[in-house]
Symmetry: C2
Subunit: 104 residues, 2 copies
């Protein structure tokens, strides 16, 4: 049984481009990822394979970013502030309801 090793496996694109093209790190995505990781830990959701918050390289949705993808569902989000991250956590990762307004 390796399917769903993590109930929710969340990848934050933290890629930094240096060539002037848009990239997720232009939006401080690493800091948002750290915020999410700490919040998940504080909520007790980092245990027992419930939620894993991961760094990822370029997810190649740069123009729509900063991008997050939640697997195994394969639901993609963009976000602009901590409130957006909080809503993805409280709605999707805790209550299983994807946040329609943030989907890309």
């Amino acid at each position: 049984m390796n399917e769903s090793y993590y109930r929710y496996h969340v990848f934050f694109c933290t890629n930094q481009r240096d060539n002037g093209r848009p990239c997720c790190q232009d939006h401080n995505s690493s800091a948002f990822r750290s915020y999410a990781k700490e919040k998940i830990k504080a909520l007790g959701l980092a245990k027992n394979h419930q939620v894993r918050i991961n760094i990822a390289g370029c997810l190649n949705r740069c123009a729509q970013g900063p991008a997050i993808v939640v697997y195994p569902e394969g639901i993609w989000y963009s976000y602009t502030n901590h409130k957006d991250i909080d809503e993805i956590i409280s709605e999707h990762l805790i209550n299983g309801r994807p946040v329609v307004r943030l989907r890309i």
Copy 2:
């Protein structure tokens, strides 16, 4: 329609630890990821959202690594050489047959 944006979204853990604990980068996982990415490109599978080969931070399966996870299936692998990577590509990513001997 954002589900399955990529038919196969493959994450290679490329985390480097400096504290003596095992980590995937001890096994040159970044180089294996580059090998896989180039091979997928050469096979024409990088186009049209067929296969995406991504860098990831620590996937937290360090002791069983170097670790790969293929989403949306959520199938995990470990590997030791290029032949293993070739087999994951030819069997799983091209023919849809997970490689049982490499699963973790």
